[in-house]
Amino acid sequence: MGSYILKRLLSAIPVLLGISVIVFLIMAMIPGDPATAILGSYATPENVARINRDLGLDQPLVARYFIWLGNMLTGDFGRSFSLNRPVLDEVLDRFGATMILAGTAFVLCSILGVAAGVVSAARQYGFADKAITFVVLIGISIPSFFLGMMMILIFAVNLRWFPVSGMWPIYGGRTLWSLLDHLIMPALALAVVATGVIARLARSAMLEVLRQDYIRTARAKGVHERSVIWRHALRAAMVSIIPVLGIQAGFVLSGAVYIEIVFQWPGVGRMLVDAILTRDILLVQGGVVFVAACYVLFNIAVDVAQSLLDPRIKT
C-alpha cells in the first residue's frame, strides 16, 4: 500500500508541472505592459527597460517560467498589490474557509447522493424513485447561486432560522455552534447540484449491480433484502461511484465560488473574483495554482480509497 501511494504521488508531479505551465501560459497571454502600468504612460524608455530588467521581464518566456516555478517551490507566490501582503498568506487564510464550506458540502452530497441513488434503485419505478428523480432533476437544473439567494430569502429573511450571510457572527464569540449556524445554508446550497449528479450515477450503478449473479446468490443464501441492498450491492456499486465522487469534488470546489459570493463567505473563490475585478494578476495566479494542486492531491486520495475498496486492483 505504501509503495502504491508513493507511486501515485510521483505520477502527480508531471500533472502538477503541467498545471503550472498552463496557468503560466494563460497569464502570459495578458496584453499590456507591467512597466508602463507601474510607471505610467509618460515613462522614459530607460526607466521602462530598468523596470523590465528588475522584474526579469527581459528574459525569454522559458526562463521566466522556471524563475516563477522556483519561487513558488520556495513558497514565494509573489505579493498581492491590492491587498499589499504576500499572495501565499492570503491564499492560505482564505483556503481554510473554503475547505470548511466545500468539505462540508462534499460530505453532504456524497452521503445524500449515494443514499438517494440507492433508495431510488431499490424502489425502481416506485413512488420514492419518482420523487427522488424529480427532486434530482430540479437539483441539477437550478443555478446554485439562485438557489442560495432563494434560501437566504426564505430561511434567513422570512423564517429567520439562519443568519443571512458571513462565516462568523459580527458580535459575539467564534464558537463551533455559531460556525455551524452560518455554514448550514451555504453548504446545502453548494451540495445540491453534486447531490443530484451523484444520485443519478448511484442509481444506475446500483441497477447495474443488482442484476449481477452474486446478488441472486446473496438472496439465495437468505440474506435479508436490506443487507442485500446496503451491503452486497452498495459495496460493489461504490467501485464505480467513488471515481465520480472525485470528479464531483472538483465541481463542489468550483461551485464554492458562487456560493462564497452569495453568502459573503470569506473563501478563495471570492478572493479570486475580487482579484480578477481589481486585475490583481499575481493573486489570481497563485490562488489558481494552489487550489488546483490541492485538487490533484485530493484525487490521489480518491484513487487510494478506491484501491482499498476493490481488492482486484493491483497495488
Binding site: 442484476r211 438472496r219 442485500v228 480578477i276
Partner: protein, 630 residues
C-alpha cells in the same frame, strides 16, 4: 433517424422538455419583433415596480427598466452564448478527439496528456484564469466556458474514434487510396456524430449555467446589456427588499436548463442502445406471483413437491412461457436429475422454487411449490427468506460471477450462517473452516481469507458448495454446477456431491444438459423441453429405454467411453420460441415420428411402464419398456 424520433416522442418527459425549450427558443428568436419596451432605457422614477403593474407585466428593476423586456432579451443572449459555447466546444473537442484517436501513437499521447492536464483543474479555476487574462466580458466568458469543456468532448470522441479507426471499412478506405483527411471526415465523423450529440445534449444546459454564472460574478456580460446571469447579479443587492427582480431571471434559467436536461436524457436514452429495451431494471427481492387459477394440492410423501408450476417472462407486450406447467417431486435423500437444452426452462423451474427468478420480467402465474406443507409460491417474503439457504440451498453455475467479488470467501460463508442466526460470532470462523475442509479445499485455514478472484475455478465451485451446505439444508438445488469446469474437476465435484448426499441425507435437484452426469449421480431423471416435462422415470430405465423421441435423441448425443464427443445440435431444427409455442407437442416439428394428431392439444404427461411417465402419443420402446417393467 425515424426510429430515433419515435423513441424520443414516446418519452413524455423528453417531449415536454422539447416543447418548453422550443417555445423559449422561438420567443427568444422573435423577441426583437415583439412590441416590447426598450430593455436598456432607464427610468428611475419607476424603480422596483412590482409585477403586474400597468404597462410592466413583470415590474421594473432598480433602474426602472421593464423586467419583461429585459428578461426576453436576456434569455436571447443566454441561449445564444450557451449554445455557441456548446458548439465551439463540440467542434474543437471532436476535432482534437478524432485527430488523437485516428493517428494514435505519439500524436495521441501528446494530445491526451494535454487534455488530462486541463481536466486536472476544477473547471472554474481554468475559466477564471482565462477571464482574468482576457478581461471580463461576455465574449471572453464564452471563450472560457467553451475552452474548459473542450477536454470533455476530446476525451469522449477520442475513445470512440480509437474503436472505429481499426474497423474494416476504414482499412478499406485507406487501401483505396483515400487521404487521411477524407477518411476522418467521410468515414470516422459520421460514426461519432451520435456521441457528439449525446455529449452536447448533456452539457449544453451545463454551459448555459456556467456562462450565466460568470455573468453573475460580473465577469460576463457588462452593463447595460444583460444576460440572465448578470440580471441575477444586479438584482442580488435588492434581494431582500425587491425579491421579484431576482426570482424572474432565476426561474427562467431553471426552466431553460430543466427543459434541456429532460430533452438531453431523452436523446441519450434514444441513442444509447443499452437502455433502449429498458434493460436496466433491477430484480426484486422475490419473484412476483400472480396466480389466477386454483392452487393445486400437494402430494403425499414428497419433501419438495412442485405442482403445475407456471413461470412467465413479460417483456413489453410479449409473454414468454418459460415454464408451462411443471410437476416434479423429490424425496429425502433422493437425487433428481433435471435435463434439457439451454432455454428449456430447467433453471427457471429451479429458481421459481425460492422466488429467485429475476422479476421484472419474471412472473409466477400458477402452481404450487410445497415444502413440508408450506406453499412457497404464496409465502410472504420474510417466510421465504428464512427458508432460503437454511432449508433449501442453491449451488450456481460459474462461481466467479455468483460469488461476491469484493468479499472474502470466508466472510461470504459466515454470512450464510449468520443470516439465519445459526452461528455464534466467535465459532463462525471455525465452522467456516470446517465447511471448506468438508468440500476438500486444501489449506482451508488460509483459503478462508482469499477473495474469489484469487481461487481456481474448481476451488470456487467448492466454496459455492460449502456455502450451500452451511446451514445443513434439507434440499440442494444445483444449477449446472459443473458446466464451467474441466472434466477431472467435474468428476471430483460430482463424487463430492454424491458423498454429501449419502452422508447427510440431502435431497438434490441436479440441473444439467449432460446425460453422462445424470447417469453418474441421479436416482431419477426428468427431461424438459420447451418449458414442460416430456419424460420422467428412474435413471437407469430412462437411459436404457427412452420413451420420448426427444429423450432418445438426447441420449444419442452422449458419448460412449472412448468415442468422439458429439453435440446436442445433432437434433435437426431448433426448440420452438416460448412466446409462440405450437399447439400439441412442442417437439413435433423436429420429430421423425410426428403425425397430425401430435399437433392437437392437449397432450398430457401419461403414466408409462409403471414408475415412469411420458408426454407422447407415439412413445418409443413401448413394448421393450413394458417388458422390462414386468
Amino acid at each position: 433517424m425515424r426510429d430515433f424520433l419515435r423513441l424520443l416522442a414516446r418519452n413524455q418527459l423528453a417531449l415536454a422538455g422539447l416543447i418548453v425549450l422550443s417555445a423559449v427558443v422561438l420567443l427568444a428568436l422573435v423577441t426583437p419583433l415583439l412590441p416590447l419596451q426598450a430593455p436598456n432605457v432607464t427610468n428611475t422614477g419607476d424603480r422596483f415596480l412590482p409585477p403586474f403593474t400597468e404597462g410592466h407585466l413583470l415590474g421594473t428593476d432598480h433602474l426602472g427598466r421593464d423586467l419583461f423586456s429585459r428578461l426576453m432579451y436576456g434569455t436571447r443572449l443566454s441561449l445564444a452564448v450557451g449554445f455557441a459555447a456548446a458548439v465551439i466546444a463540440a467542434v474543437l473537442g471532436a476535432a482534437i478527439g478524432i485527430l488523437a484517436g485516428y493517428y494514435g501513437g505519439r500524436t495521441d499521447n501528446v494530445i491526451m496528456r494535454g487534455v488530462d492536464m486541463l481536466m486536472a483543474f476544477p473547471y472554474i479555476l481554468l475559466a477564471l484564469a482565462i477571464v482574468a487574462a482576457l478581461g471580463p466580458g461576455l465574449l471572453n466568458a464564452l471563450v472560457a466556458v467553451a475552452a474548459v469543456n473542450i477536454p470533455f468532448f476530446a476525451r469522449n470522441i477520442r475513445g470512440i474514434t480509437v474503436g472505429i479507426a481499426h474497423k474494416e471499412f476504414v482499412d478499406a478506405a485507406r487501401l483505396s487510396g483515400m487521404g487521411d483527411m477524407r477518411i476522418m471526415l467521410g468515414e470516422v465523423l459520421p460514426n461519432v456524430i451520435p456521441v457528439i450529440v449525446i455529449a452536447m445534449s448533456t452539457t449544453v444546459g451545463w454551459m448555459i449555467l456556467e456562462t450565466a454564472g460568470l455573468s453573475f460574478l460580473g465577469l460576463g456580460s457588462q452593463p447595460p446589456v444583460a444576460d440572465l446571469g448578470s440580471m441575477l447579479g444586479e438584482a442580488r443587492s435588492a434581494l431582500i427588499t425587491n425579491p421579484h427582480t431576482s426570482v424572474v431571471p432565476g426561474v427562467m434559467i431553471l426552466i431553460i436548463v430543466m427543459a434541456i436536461n429532460l430533452l438531453g436524457d431523452g436523446i441519450r436514452d434514444a441513442l444509447d442502445p443499452r437502455l433502449r429495451s429498458g434493460a436496466l431494471t433491477r430484480p426484486m427481492a422475490a419473484t412476483t406471483v400472480r396466480r389466477d387459477g386454483p392452487v393445486p394440492e400437494a402430494r403425499e410423501g414428497a419433501l419438495l413437491d412442485i405442482r403445475e408450476l407456471q413461470t412467465q417472462f413479460h417483456v413489453k407486450k410479449r409473454v414468454y412461457r418459460a415454464v408451462g406447467g411443471v410437476d416434479l417431486e423429490v424425496k429425502p435423500g433422493e437425487c433428481l436429475g433435471l435435463i434439457g437444452e439451454s432455454g428449456s426452462g430447467k433453471s427457471v423451474t429451479a429458481l421459481s422454487v425460492m422466488g429467485l427468478v429475476a422479476s421484472p420480467p419474471g412472473v409466477i402465474t400458477g402452481g404450487r411449490v410445497d415444502y413440508k406443507g408450506t406453499d412457497l409460491i404464496g409465502a410472504r417474503y420474510e417466510q421465504l427468506r428464512t427458508l432460503r439457504g437454511r432449508e433449501i440451498a442453491y449451488i450456481f453455475q460459474d462461481p466467479l460471477a455468483t460469488l461476491h467479488p469484493l468479499y472474502k470467501v470466508g466472510d461470504q460463508l459466515i454470512e450464510a450462517m449468520t443470516a439465519h442466526g445459526r452461528a455464534p460470532k466467535e465459532g463462525a470462523r471455525q465452522k467456516a473452516i470446517e465447511l471448506l475442509k468438508s468440500v476438500r479445499i486444501p489449506n482451508a485455514e488460509k483459503r478462508i481469507d482469499s477473495y474469489p478472484h484469487e481461487m481456481s475455478g474448481g476451488m470456487r465451485q467448492r466454496a459455492g458448495i460449502a456455502m450451500a451446505l452451511a446451514n445443513d439444508p434439507e434440499v440442494i438445488i444445483a444449477d449446472e454446477p459443473t458446466t464451467a469446469l474441466d472434466v477431472t474437476v467435474q468428476a471430483q465435484i460430482l463424487s463430492l456431491l454424491d458423498d454429501l448426499r449419502r452422508s447427510r441425507g440431502l435431497a438434490i435437484i441436479f440441473i444439467t444438459h449432460d446425460f453422462g452426469v445424470v447417469a453418474q449421480l441421479c436416482d431419477r431423471v426428468a427431461v424438459m423441453y420447451a418449458g414442460r416435462i416430456v419424460e420422467e422415470g428412474p435413471t437407469a430405465e430412462v437411459l436404457a429405454t427412452p420413451a420420448h423421441p426427444y429423450t432418445k435423441r438426447l441420449i444419442a448425443c452422449v458419448p460412449e467411453l472412448g468415442e468422439g464427443r458429439r453435440k446436442l445440435a445433432a437434433i435437426p431444427g431448433l426448440p420452438p420460441p416460448v412466446d409462440d409455442l405450437p399447439p400439441g407437442c412442442a417437439f413435433a416439428p423436429r420429430c421423425a415420428k410426428a403425425t397430425p394428431a401430435c399437433t392437437e392439444p392437449p397432450i398430457e404427461l401419461m403414466p408409462f411402464a409403471g414408475t415412469r411417465a411420458v408426454r407422447c402419443i407415439h412413445p418409443e420402446n413401448d413394448a421393450a419398456a413394458r417388458e422390462a417393467a414386468e
